[in-house]
Subunit: 404 residues, 2 copies
């Protein structure tokens, strides 16, 4: 497996486009994206667990009932959530794209991100649908990635090449991270496209399994958005024998998928609202993977840990505290803890108690932009990793100052 | 029942003192408090659920095994947590106080708040024990309240007078809120004293019941400290017939207790780290009290809601979002939502969707320092209230900048 260029269009037969249609007032910011597969594709998705669900999710879920899709349309600037006509508008977005592409509306998936509770005006989308379709290109990944950004500061796209059934296959994706948009809420959207041949059931299995170790282990501020969605399309144009069961090919697909999703997780964490540091918490020596995950997430979600990381402060007591309230039965007196980054690694706590360490060296390590918090529970063989970011003045600024 | 002066010494037979002994470098900040009952007292306590527990909690729990206590000693500036000799030091603090007061060490409760993982030097406490005991007075509540403060900006003391068994009884208390101390973590400590006669079993029942609706519904940053503790002493000097079972007198005691604890909750919330606003979330119309509590806590803990309140931004979508991910099954399309303060009340969401409202009026309401978030689930008759505060630049500053 190797990293390649091309993002969401890296796989054979996928084209994408992104442009400014006018949902946003800012004319320089693209706000409408389209991704199309030239061939029918198996499709799978996972959705936010929030009971308040954006209308686009409901429509996408319904369109995915047959495990097939051809296109994804996505706007930023308006979440189309908590609107009385939300479902109708989302259906119309699909119909507009379908009509222009000459495919069935049920083969179009739809996503929206932005302000909640404000009606989404369809006319800018309608007016620019021809231009959007005309702009579709196999080099359109970057435009699409930009069009779905909100307060993201970096475009997020990646792709890999791997082997399955003797064929070279590709899987790539774009994402928008937890960003705030005038005035509203964090939404994570991820669109993944592969040219591998894989049955809808195995595709959904791959995605549902993968998110447990990738996107579900990512937290920027603990708020689960109403519009989170990860979609994965696979059109089979690589020509590999269709993956219909577990085995070597499925494992290769899973490995490629996980490489892409973990890279996107890390990038979204590092680009979290106001973030100056990406935090990766690795928990090992846990009695079970579930316990390891719970502990890793508790640490990555702690406001006090996040604020300490912003201050490059080796305040290990806060990490221990977050381990202690994670809700997992454990023997605190066996916990070891260290911090690691490109500048080195430093042990700060052994057997649940502080050990002498150089504050100077700790500071140097924590001033890097990617920080690992390494926790060993010394109570078993299971492990887990979670990603997050520091809590900064800018997070408060972005989320407190913008709406009025 | 009426509010009275005197704080933790308002009840008959209680004296308190607070002074600077030298645990803190800042000579103007008191760091050692002592509370004493002139008569043997029934005693009860509740403790943090964090698995990482401060040594003082372990010692207090052991001393409370017989349901009796005479004194509480508490220092700020060092949490005596995650230290190899923590238990030993906490026991010695009790022994020092007991020796000076002429009581058994097992009748002394102990609490500490401050930096974690740094050994607590007993010598300043030892050196000032005589002076501390000599300073004990029935007007010493304010000194004791000051001595337990960390980054609290206001002293927290309150007392009430109520009737039980035909006698006038009193119950008062002091508290420190979620404050950060160089360099460490939030700790909530509450000491309550009453002159009512009540059995240890009923006293513990009263406290354990009350905290479910008071301190357990309070969140500043979602981090459960290692040293949280609420202690309640009752020495019976009011002369009422001892409360040994549920009934009118127990209800009167519970009402007094709840008045005191809710006042302390609201005060701690409003004085949360960096807070500019106290948030009270009232959930009604829930299928069960447990559901109402879960929803209220979810809203009060949401970083996005807290940041919006800092910005006085009527961003109701974030409240709805936090309701949606609370983990309680509910019909979002029945949820009503409004904001209220001294400046008025404004409805912003009905049946799960936004309704037109005056942004100007909403701003005026949200610029007050005490904000109520009123949620009706329209799905039953149960309700609950939770308290919190806004998320501000100063929260990040206090918790990110201080240790190094």
């Amino acid at each position: 497996m190797k990293l390649i260029e091309g993002g969401v269009c890296a796989a054979k037969g996928f084209r994408a486009a992104g442009l400014h249609c006018g949902i946003r007032k800012n004319h320089t910011k693209k706000d409408l994206a389209l991704i199309v597969s030239d061939a029918p594709a198996a499709a799978a998705a996972v959705y936010t667990r929030n009971l308040v669900k954006g209308a686009p999710l409901t429509v996408t879920k319904s369109h995915l009932a047959d495990g097939q899709a051809r296109a994804v349309i996505c706007n930023s600037g308006n979440a189309n959530t908590c609107n009385a006509d939300g479902i109708e508008i989302a259906e119309k977005m699909c119909a507009l794209a379908a009509s222009r592409l000459g495919i069935a509306p049920e083969d179009v998936l739809v996503a929206s991100t932005g302000v909640i509770g404000q009606p989404l005006d369809l006319s800018p989308i309608e007016a620019k649908m021809d231009a959007l379709a005309a702009a579709l290109s196999s080099s359109g990944s970057a435009d699409a990635a930009e069009a779905i950004m909100t307060t993201d500061t970096v475009r997020k796209e990646i792709a890999v090449e791997f082997s399955a059934g003797g064929k070279s296959c590709r899987l790539g994706g774009i994402a928008k991270g937890s960003g705030m948009i005038h005035p509203d809420m964090a939404t994570m959207l991820v669109f993944l496209c592969s040219d591998a041949a894989i049955s809808p059931a195995m595709l959904q299995k791959a995605l549902s399994t993968d998110v447990q170790k990738s996107f579900n282990m990512l937290s920027v501020d603990g708020d689960t958005s109403t519009n989170d969605m990860v979609c994965l399309l696979a059109n089979g144009l690589a020509g590999n024998p269709e993956i219909t069961e577990e085995g070597e090919d499925f494992s290769a697909f899973m490995e490629a998928l996980n490489t892409v999703t973990v890279w996107l997780c890390r990038t979204m964490a590092g680009d979290g609202e106001g973030a100056t540091r990406m935090l990766e918490c690795r928990v090992s020596g846990a009695p079970s993977e579930a316990d390891a995950k719970t502990v890793a997430k508790s640490v990555i979600c702690s406001s006090l840990v996040k604020a300490a990381m912003f201050g490059a402060d080796a305040n290990w007591g806060r990490v221990l505290c977050a381990i202690g309230y994670a809700g997992v039965p454990l023997d605190v007196s066996r916990v070891d803890l260290s911090f690691r980054s490109a500048a080195g690694e430093i042990a700060v706590c052994k057997d649940g108690a502080g050990i002498p360490f150089s504050e100077e060296q700790a500071k140097k390590i924590l001033l890097e932009t990617e920080i690992e918090i390494l926790i060993s529970l010394n109570a078993g063989g299971a492990s887990a990793t979670a990603w997050g970011c520091d809590l900064t003045y800018d997070y408060v600024k972005i989320n407190g100052d913008y709406r009025t």
